[in-house]
């Protein structure tokens, strides 16, 4: 039963995603304004202007775990940010807590540089594995955040409560923080430490808000559709349960 429900949900999501991606809209989709992404866009531009660096930390989520989705979303965001800041005097630096994600971050940066036409500026060591455990990863990322010329720390991905150490280090350096996590405990920590925290599935909206391709916007729309359907289903189920039908 569970498998059937899962299959139906997957098929519906796939069809919806394809349809929304391939549909040609007359006007671009309008999403609600999220202050954190606006700050991120501005920070990226300022980093290029004043020659500072962007530190993008994409967490410790493994691609083979459910947390891998957060890492994929973080990589998509890295692609956009890397393309925007590739021409900066100090290119962005990427830290991660998973070896596979670290390798993918290097590949993503290289693609961003190629898209920006400055492939020769790419440095492979821009994407690095900070640590294999969460706190070792956080400790190494704290060191990167405390380095000079880091104006903005972008903490998007799979984090735990150790993300508080990263935010603390950023606040000490008076750097801008843009953070989003999939784990609720990390979200709680970020809510207390970040200026504009991103809660819930706003992590997966990051690529769409940073100017990614239509598939990301279609993904957001699909999430909204399914969310409303799920809410409707929950309400209906709760009502039926209360009514004794279930």
């Amino acid at each position: 039963m569970n498998q059937i429900i899962a299959l139906a949900l997957v098929l519906f999501a796939a069809l919806l995603l394809l349809a929304l991606s391939l549909r040609k809209r007359k006007s671009p989709a309008a999403f609600r304004e999220i202050a954190a992404f606006a700050r991120l866009r501005r920070a990226a531009g300022l980093a290029v202007e004043d020659g500072t660096r962007l530190h993008v930390s994409i967490g410790r989520g493994s691609l083979l775990s459910p947390r891998g989705a957060a890492s994929l979303s973080a990589l998509a965001l890295l692609r956009q940010v890397g393309e925007q800041t590739s021409t900066s005097d100090r290119p962005p630096v990427v830290t991660s807590g998973d070896p596979a994600v670290a390798a993918l971050s290097q590949d993503t940066l290289q693609a961003a540089y190629q898209a920006a036409g400055v492939a020769e500026l790419f440095q492979p060591n821009s994407g690095k594995l900070s640590g294999l455990t969460p706190f070792s990863y956080a400790a190494s990322a704290m060191d990167v955040a405390r380095q000079e010329y880091v104006s903005t720390n972008v903490l998007v991905g799979d984090f735990g409560s150790e993300v508080a150490l990263l935010t603390e280090a950023s606040e000490r350096e008076h750097a801008t923080i843009v953070a989003a996590a999939a784990d609720p405990s990390a979200q709680a920590v970020l809510f207390a430490s970040a200026a504009e925290p991103l809660v819930g599935e706003e992590l997966f909206a990051a690529p769409a808000y940073m100017g990614a391709d239509p598939s990301h916007r279609a993904s957001l729309q699909a999430q909204d559709v399914m969310r409303w359907l799920l809410i409707l289903g929950l309400l209906v189920a709760a009502a039926l349960k209360m009514a004794g039908a279930l």
């Binding site: 498998q3 899962a6 299959l7 997957v10 999501a13 796939a14 995603l17 991606s21 083979l64 891998g68 989705a69 994929l72 990589l75 998509a76 692609r79 998973d98 070896p99 596979a100 670290a102 390798a103 993918l104 590949d107 290289q110 693609a111 060591n125 690095k128 594995l129 455990t133 706190f135 956080a138 400790a139 060191d143 380095q147 000079e148 409560s161 150790e162 508080a164 150490l165 603390e168 999939a182 609720p184 979200q187 709680a188 920590v189 809510f191 207390a192 430490s193 200026a195 819930g200 599935e201 992590l203 997966f204 909206a205 598939s215 990301h216 993904s219 699909a222 999430q223 399914m226 969310r227």
Partner: protein, 208 residues
């Protein structure tokens, strides 16, 4: 260009196999799925080695360029090398490895966790200074309430009402319900993200 196409084709094919094999009860797909999973495990293990090599390269470059805090990078390289040698010589479950773990790794991470406690307290104290809105007040109130509901006073034990009424309601109803909602949203996001990777809309591997 051809390599990118091959990588994309492999990613799509493997993803479909795993997904279909997981959702559809076709026995013929089970061994294929499991074998693919086995390959994934092996590749992830190899990725650990690649990550360690990358870590070593970064710190060696830092030492070579005599950058700031390059001394710590040198200590890291030495420690890594020594631990690797001990593990190879005496096994991962050997006494030396256990000593290194219990003497270095465990205390360090425990200290970081204690630091996290201070950080969280400080952040909570400064929250209303940084952002004064209703949600911040609710957050602070909820945190305080939860803590008060879970502690026991000296000589008195659990605080009445807080311990037996508020605390269960907070943890089981508010926190759990909220967490479920968050997890549902995250799950939906993960689903569409996975599908986007499955349909090759996102290709973090070499190239888009």
């Amino acid at each position: 260009m051809k390599g990118k196409l091959v990588a994309t084709a492999i990613a799509i094919a493997v993803g479909l196999f795993i997904l279909v094999g997981t959702l559809l009860p076709f026995q013929i797909l089970v061994p294929v799925r499991l074998e693919l999973l086995h390959w994934a495990v092996i590749i992830s293990s190899a990725a650990v080695l690649v990550g360690i090599a990358n870590l070593l390269n970064v710190h060696m470059q830092k030492v070579r360029r005599r950058e700031k805090n390059s001394a710590y990078s040198a200590i890291l390289i030495l420690s890594m090398s020594l631990t690797l040698a001990l593990g190879v010589l005496f096994g991962p479950n050997g006494g030396w490895m256990q000593m290194a773990f219990e003497g270095i790794i465990f205390p360090v991470e425990a200290a970081l966790m204690a630091l996290l406690a201070v950080t969280l307290i400080y952040a909570s104290v400064r929250l209303l200074r940084r952002r004064t809105d209703i949600m911040s007040i609710v957050f602070i109130a909820t945190a305080a309430l939860t803590i008060f509901a879970s502690i026991s006073l000296p000589f008195l034990g659990e605080i009445p009402i807080f311990g037996d009424v508020i605390h269960p309601w907070l943890t089981s109803t508010l926190a759990a319900g909220g967490a479920r909602g968050l997890l549902l949203g995250v799950a939906l996001g993960a689903l569409t993200t996975g599908l986007r990777a499955l349909f090759a809309f996102d290709r973090p591997f070499g190239g888009k």
